[in-house]
């Protein structure tokens, strides 16, 4: 994204480049947290879940560091126009990534409870939803590195699919709970996993909006397409 920028002060360009690279690194950490948390849930791997929970501190630390960098940049360089946009974007994206990390941690926490009961038959559905959300996060972060708004907008438009998955899963889990009260406990935790994934998807769309704003200077117009809201099966 910074290729086009030329500054008389080379240090400024370097700082901007480092900023976006650091945001990418933090994105990698968040992506990794989501992937590992899902792997922990699917493979019933308590150890991996613990690692995810511990690694969240790293993401928080990175957020603080990047925020410091941004404050320094704003104070010393007083960026204008597209530079200002990219600095503000970094600030927003970092906040979304931090929340993503927290949600991944929350997913990992559910593993402990989920492995106490038998595997639920709906785990593949959660896995599929996890893959979809991971794909969205990955493509949005790629778009951030390359500055390709088209794929960011593509992800933004496709958040509907995540909602569709969540809705279907919600109904299936509730239906199973009604059939067999013994799955109420693990089923509830599985629902929270799905809900967290759905929110991670929302953060990915937030990031997509920010990328669109950095590159074009305009906000993404219109209401984000929304899938159906979950409803209780009759």
């Amino acid at each position: 994204m910074n290729d086009l920028m030329k500054h008389t002060v080379k240090a400024f360009s370097d700082e901007l480049e480092k900023l976006s690279a650091d945001v990418s690194v933090m994105g990698g950490l968040a992506e990794n947290a989501v992937a590992s948390a899902m792997q922990a849930v699917i493979n019933r791997d308590a150890e991996l879940a613990e690692q995810v929970i511990e690694a969240d501190a790293e993401i928080d630390k990175m957020q603080r560091e990047i925020e410091k960098q941004i404050i320094r940049l704003l104070a010393l360089r007083q960026p204008m126009a597209s530079d200002l946009r990219s600095v503000i974007a970094a600030l927003k994206i970092v906040a979304d990534l931090e929340r993503t990390g927290d949600l991944a941690k929350s997913i990992a926490r559910r593993t402990r409870v989920l492995i106490k009961s038998d595997p639920l038959p709906l785990t593949p559905a959660v896995e599929r939803m996890g893959l979809l959300v991971q794909g969205h996060l990955h493509q949005v972060l790629d778009a951030y590195a390359t500055g390709e708004t088209a794929s960011a907008v593509g992800v933004w438009e496709r958040d509907e699919d995540v909602d569709e998955h969540y809705n279907a899963l919600f109904r299936d889990v509730i239906a199973q709970m009604m059939e067999d009260p013994s799955v109420v406990g693990p089923g509830a935790h599985l629902l929270f996993v799905a809900k967290n994934l759905e929110r991670i998807g929302d953060h990915a769309t937030n990031i997509a909006e920010v990328i669109h704003y950095v590159v074009t200077g305009n906000e993404l117009k219109g209401e984000r397409p929304r899938g159906p809201r979950p409803e209780l099966p009759e």
């Binding site: 690194v25 990698g28 992937a35 794909g135 279907a168 899963l169």
Partner: protein, 475 residues
């Protein structure tokens, strides 16, 4: 890298080390001069003067020769220059041609060099970017920065599961360059694609689990019938006949299941290898419609083909794409009522958004879902094939599970006539292998549309006219 070191050698180190004839001559000359002064002052006599002068001359000669031979091995800049270009040129060429991605990372994590394989693998633009902007794997970045501090190299594994599954082993090795300056360390990063072996491992486990789980049901019923035939029904002619025909149906089902499982395994195994070849979707649609026409006619289902008159050429393996289209049309026929209708349509050169779903929904509030899709790209154009049926449709809550193995809508029991529940899973994997997409739109009571799309083969720039649509009813 050695080429870069040479210039500094030539003008800073070598002159200081090389024995200078003039220096030796001057120092021995000075010695002789001192002796001559002493001779003139009468301190020593002529014989001593001549003797010491000779000794000095021979000493300086010996010194010159020794210095020449000891320093010689390092002071051969001329010869090294003649050898090196060939050396580095060959090394360069090997680096260019090797299919393994190799990168050299400089201070601050900046990519200093990347061979073409690495460029393609990471999608790099120009050189000089930061590694962390393209490869976001925390563990790889950590290993690289350790190597840049001069710590021992290591191997790390990383995987991305979506949008495209890949498993990679990354080897990081520190390299010390003899460069002036505080940062002599570079990190060499070698990436090895491990996807196929990881996939094969998982596939084997999945296959065993699936096979053992799904084959148990027909096996259990078979052994039940055998027991009955040996026991209570031993002399019952009528029951024996009936049981044997049920057993035949069950074994037939087992055979189909094994066939589908094997075919699924094969497709999955090669999923990461892009297919070679080109297929015309229009022609394919005509072939499938021709082949399944009699089936449709026997149930008086109208099978209509709305294919472009031109062609929709996509990258693909013809046999596999045939299987996909056949599968979708068979499904559409299966879920249509007698006397219903099934429509196949083909469109060429659509954008990703247009390829995923048609502009018009089949019904108000119909469910739409993408079951499998390639990474987003704004330039890609796709050839699209849609199969529409007017059957009972699918409730939207089942849409995400459609491509799940052994999933049957509405919990249809595995009756002998029903499918194996693997058909759409096979479709999904073939589509994923072709870097294409697979979507569904459905509304209960209205029917469903299954769409598949594949990357179009780029035609020359002269070809800009829209293909003419034509409707033709087969059967």
């Amino acid at each position: 890298m050695r080429a870069r070191r040479d210039p500094s050698d030539n003008w800073s180190k070598t002159p200081a080390d090389r024995p200078r004839r003039r220096d030796i001559a001057i120092s021995s000359g000075l010695g002789v001069l001192v002796l001559a002064v002493l001779l003139a002052a009468g301190t020593i006599d002529l014989a001593v003067f001549v003797g010491t002068s000779l000794a000095l001359a021979s000493l300086s000669l010996v010194y010159y020769l020794t210095a020449l031979t000891t320093i010689e091995p390092e002071a051969r800049p001329v010869e090294r220059v003649t050898v090196q270009p060939a050396d580095t040129a060959v090394a360069e060429l090997m680096l260019e041609r090797i299919t393994v991605p190799i990168l050299l990372i400089g201070p601050g994590g900046r990519i200093e060099r990347a061979n073409p394989a690495a460029r393609a693998f990471l999608g790099l633009g120009g050189e000089g970017g930061l590694l962390s902007a393209t490869l976001r794997q925390p563990r790889v970045l950590e290993a690289v920065s350790a190597a840049l501090r001069g710590e021992k190299g290591r191997a790390v594994e990383y995987s991305t599961l979506a949008p495209i599954e890949s498993h990679v082993r990354a080897f990081v090795e520190p390299i010390r360059l003899e460069l002036p300056g505080p940062m002599p360390w570079r990190a060499m990063l070698v990436l090895a694609d491990d996807t196929s072996s990881k996939r094969a491992e998982r596939m084997r486990a999945d296959f065993l689990a699936n096979a053992s789980h799904e084959l148990r049901t027909p096996l259990a019923s078979l052994s039940g019938f055998i027991e009955t035939l040996r026991g209570p029904a031993r002399d019952d002619e009528e029951a024996r006949e009936r049981f044997l025909s049920i057993m035949q149906v069950q074994t037939e089902r087992m055979r189909r299941l094994i066939d589908d499982l094997l075919s699924l395994s094969r497709v999955e195994m090669n999923e990461h290898l892009p297919p070679s070849g080109a297929v015309d979707l229009c022609e394919l649609a005509r072939d499938v419609a021709g082949a399944l026409g009699p089936v449709a006619a026997s149930r008086s289902i109208g099978l209509s083909l709305d294919a472009c008159e031109g062609e929709a050429i996509v990258h693909g393996d013809r046999d596999q794409l045939y299987e996909v289209v056949e599968n979708l049309v068979e499904n559409a026929l299966k879920y249509s009522d007698d006397g219903g209708s099934v429509a196949i349509s083909v469109r060429a050169d659509l954008t990703r958004d247009a390829a995923e779903h048609s502009d018009e929904r089949i019904a108000e509030g119909s469910g739409r879902l993408t079951l499998s899709a390639p990474p987003l790209s704004s330039e890609a154009r796709y050839g699209v094939l849609r199969v529409r049926d007017c059957g009972q449709g699918i409730d939207r809550r089942y849409l995400p599970r459609l491509s799940e193995r052994f999933f049957r809508v509405g919990g249809q029991k595995s009756s002998p006539t029903s499918g194996t529940g693997l058909g759409l899973a096979i479709v999904k994997h073939i589509v994923a292998r072709h870097r294409g997409g697979f979507t569904v739109e459905s509304a209960p009571g209205e029917g469903s549309v299954f769409s598949i799309f594949f990357p179009a083969v780029r035609k020359s720039a002269t070809d800009g006219n829209e293909p003419v649509q034509r409707g033709a009813t087969v059967s």
